[in-house]
């Protein structure tokens, strides 16, 4: 085989060879990182999806909790079945999975502002059915004793409303949290334009 120099100058060839070697070394290093982590990829994909879900454990997606839904999504399920997550979760899931964002599947509910449960204590009979139903143990109380919802722990999944035999649980909207919201200037312009 006739070895032709790339360029006539010897030193520039050496320089080129060094640059090529460094480039190859760097790409091997980064691909090692890639392949090393890929063995965990199956597990971390489910965890990545689960991290994007709101964890209300409400079951509106027709799975028994958020982790089973995450597993279903990883196996190819639809990403538009989570009403508590809203549009933002669908878009983020689409971005993660290289998929197209779709509007929320209305068969699974509609996007509503967050509510938390409130037990009307005057009517509570202490049956503990709601305590058993709550997926995050946000209701405290005992048999024949007063039950109450810990507001800071309630996820608003409204699974406690149905079991209550005296219908004493209300779902009330949260008070407005932080009215001072900065908007991106482009959004400000478009809302101004829409108003015009």
């Amino acid at each position: 085989m006739i070895t032709m120099p790339l360029v006539d100058n010897f030193f520039i060839n050496i320089l080129f060879a060094i640059a090529a070697l460094i480039g190859i070394a760097l790409s091997i290093r980064s691909s090692l990182v890639f392949w090393y982590s890929s063995s965990n990829q199956q597990k971390t994909l489910i965890d990545q999806i689960n991290a994007l879900l709101p964890q209300t454990q409400c079951g509106q997606c027709s799975f028994e909790g958020c982790l089973p839904y995450a597993r279903a999504i990883a196996r190819g399920g639809a990403i538009n079945q989570c009403p508590p997550g809203g549009e933002a979760t669908i878009i983020r899931l689409a971005h993660l999975l290289n998929d197209y964002p779709e509007p929320l599947n209305s068969a699974h509910g509609s996007i509503e502002p967050t509510k938390i449960a409130f037990i009307r204590e005057a009517e509570c009979i202490g049956c503990t059915k709601c305590i058993q139903a709550c997926p995050v143990d946000a209701i405290i109380g005992g048999a024949k004793l007063m039950h109450t919802v810990i507001a800071s722990e309630c996820t608003g999944c409204d699974l406690c409303v149905a079991p209550c035999p005296v219908d004493c649980i209300d779902m009330l909207a949260l008070p407005a949290q932080n009215p001072w919201q900065w908007q991106l200037p482009t959004e400000l312009q478009s809302t101004a334009a829409a108003r015009r």
Binding site: K43, I46, D47, N50, A51, L53, P54, Q55, T56, Q57, C58, G59, S62, E64, G65, C66, L67, P68, A70, R71, I116, F118, R120, E121, A122, E123, Q132, A133, C134, P135, V136, D137, A138, A151, E153, T155, D158, L159, V161, A162, P163, C164, D167, C168, I169, D170, M171, L172, L174, P175, N178, P179, W180, Q181, W182, Q183, L184, P185, T186, Q189
Partner: protein
């Protein structure tokens, strides 16, 4: 202790350096420096926010109707984030309620309304003439009692900062007199007239934090202040350093770099390098607290802008309404377009002038259309790169802008949006008039909301996992009890044996049942509301 050891550079001057990037806007300070610092006449009413800023913790010591004397403590701090507040003048407390203040996230905060009686009766002060013989601990105690907070704009309680510095070990104390932002001239006026007091305050701070070395850093375009400082520092071991007059040299990380050449790493503070920073105004407040025994009740504020007939620096009482100060300077309402609290680059536009002056307000600009002309329309980014040239934090504003527009949160974090100091240099130089800082502030808020939501969902997930664990444990103790993970086989997830799943599984089928139950509960609630006057309130509504 940190490894940077300034002790080994004995009398050798620390060399001044340039900061990264930066801009040189026109200073606009001459107008307010034409006269001396003026004392302020007593306003009819003072509005004193109980908390310094959102998230701090103080509680009032007085009730509505109390008569208070000047220097009397009005609030006490509940933890280290709070600072005591003292009555700036004598009078009567007329209300303790929510009032609009500037810069608060909800635009209103709990304030003490003090009706001034004009007599200015004060408590007996306890000055300390031998302040140079006090120990560090005594100085710290006096600073704590006086309720001094950082006067540079951050408002961090000085005593707590000193405590952290003592714990960590300080090697260098820098007094920040840089004042780089246009329109603000408080520190310059202060140093011009009261340099001796500032130097004594710096000495006291040095005693308190046990720093072996102290530097006063000032920009080189303030000749009168520099001359006064030089004569005040004649017999003092404190050094003077003149910095290049660039904006934003006065920023915390920037001034550390300009004075020492060290860069504060991401996520850390200058204290981690053994460097303590205090504003010159804070040093003056420390002098007043220790040597004169006066708590923090007033500060120097610059009133400037073309709408004022006589712009000047005031020694204003905390809690003075902005409108009162503007009237003292002869504000011409027909030209007065906006009021800005702060400088022209980082200041906050006030919606109305009823807001009070706080311990961190350093400047009020009553602007006309000539001062702040109508911003030109935002054009498309032409990728010129001027913004990256001037960014003092060495970020890439162009990239951050495009990621903010596409809400690309992972890239925003990896490009360092959290390190943006919001100085406004990038927006200042942008040829397309893009309001870059607004994008970054909105994006930061989005990131914060997201991280709060994520923390909450992680918390709920933990509770749910414990709930499953507990239910399984209750049901059978013989089988393995493992918290299900992503790779557990399906059998280990809760099955029909647990009551919760029977409800959850049937969610899809029981959608109608749940909707009916909610409807029944709502109907009951409205019928109760109609008949029962003793309806308990929603617990969350009590939070204000």
């Amino acid at each position: 202790m940190s490894s940077t050891n300034f002790l080994h550079l004995p009398r050798q001057q620390l060399r001044r350096r340039k900061i990264f990037g930066g801009i040189k806007p026109a200073p606009h300070k001459a107008a307010s420096l034409r006269s001396r610092i003026m004392p302020m006449p007593l306003p009819p009413q003072l509005i004193l926010p109980i908390n310094q800023y959102h998230g701090t913790n103080s509680s009032p010591l007085v009730k509505v109707g109390d008569a208070v004397l000047k220097y009397q403590a009005l609030t006490e701090k509940l933890d280290h984030t709070g600072a005591a507040l003292h009555a700036p003048t004598s009078g009567r407390i007329t209300a303790i309620c929510s009032a609009p203040i500037a810069g608060h996230p909800d635009n209103a905060a709990l304030c003490i309304h003090l009706q001034c009686d004009g007599d200015d009766n004060s408590l007996e002060l306890q000055p300390c003439l031998n302040h140079d013989q006090l120990t560090g601990f005594e100085v710290l105690r006096k600073i704590d009692a006086a309720g001094i907070v950082g006067m540079g704009g951050a408002g961090f309680p000085t005593a707590h900062k000193l405590r952290l510095a003592i714990e960590h070990g300080t090697e260098l104390l820098i007094i920040n007199a840089a004042e780089c932002e246009p329109y603000i001239s408080t520190d310059e006026a202060l140093l011009r007239e009261r340099a001796r007091e500032v130097v004594i305050g710096a000495e006291l701070l040095r005693t308190a934090c046990h720093a072996p070395r102290c530097v006063i850093a000032i920009e080189e375009d303030k000749p009168a202040a520099i001359a006064a400082l030089r004569s005040a520092l004649a017999h003092s071991p404190i050094e003077l350093m003149l910095l290049h007059s660039t904006y934003p040299t006065g920023g915390e990380k920037q001034i550390v770099q300009a004075v020492t050449g060290l860069e504060v790493p991401v996520g850390q503070y200058p204290l981690n390098l053994g460097i303590l920073l205090h504003n010159a105004g804070t040093a003056y407040a420390v002098y007043q607290a220790v040597a004169e025994g006066k708590p923090s009740i007033s500060r120097i504020i610059t009133l400037t802008g073309r709408a004022l007939q006589t712009p000047k620096n005031f020694e204003a009482l905390i809690g003075t309404p902005v409108a009162f100060l503007l009237k003292l300077c002869g504000v011409q309402e027909q030209h007065h377009l906006t009021t800005v609290m702060g400088g022209s680059l980082m200041g906050l536009q006030l919606a109305h002038t009823e807001a009070p002056v706080t311990k961190t307000t350093n400047c009020l600009i009553a602007a006309t259309v000539e001062d702040f002309p109508q911003p030109e329309p935002e054009l498309a980014c032409i990728r010129c790169g001027f913004c990256a040239e001037v960014c003092p934090a060495r970020l890439l504003p162009q990239q951050l802008y495009s990621f903010a527009r596409t809400h690309n949160h992972t890239q925003l974090q990896s490009y360092g949006l959290d390190d943006c100091i919001e100085c406004g240099a990038c927006a200042y130089v942008c040829p397309s008039n893009i309001p870059l800082v607004q994008y970054y502030v909105a994006a930061k808020q989005e990131l914060r909301t997201l991280s709060v939501a994520r923390e909450q969902s992680e918390h709920w997930q933990t509770r749910f996992q414990f709930h499953q664990y507990r239910t399984k444990q209750e049901k059978d103790s013989a089988r393995e009890r493992r918290i299900p993970t992503a790779l557990s086989p399906v059998e280990l997830l809760p099955t029909d044996s647990s009551p919760i799943t029977s409800v959850q599984f049937s969610r899809q089928l029981a959608q109608q049942e749940i909707a009916d139950a909610v409807a029944r509960a709502n109907a009951k609630r409205s019928s109760r509301l109609a008949t029962d006057t003793q309806m308990p309130q929603h617990p969350a509504k009590d939070k204000e």
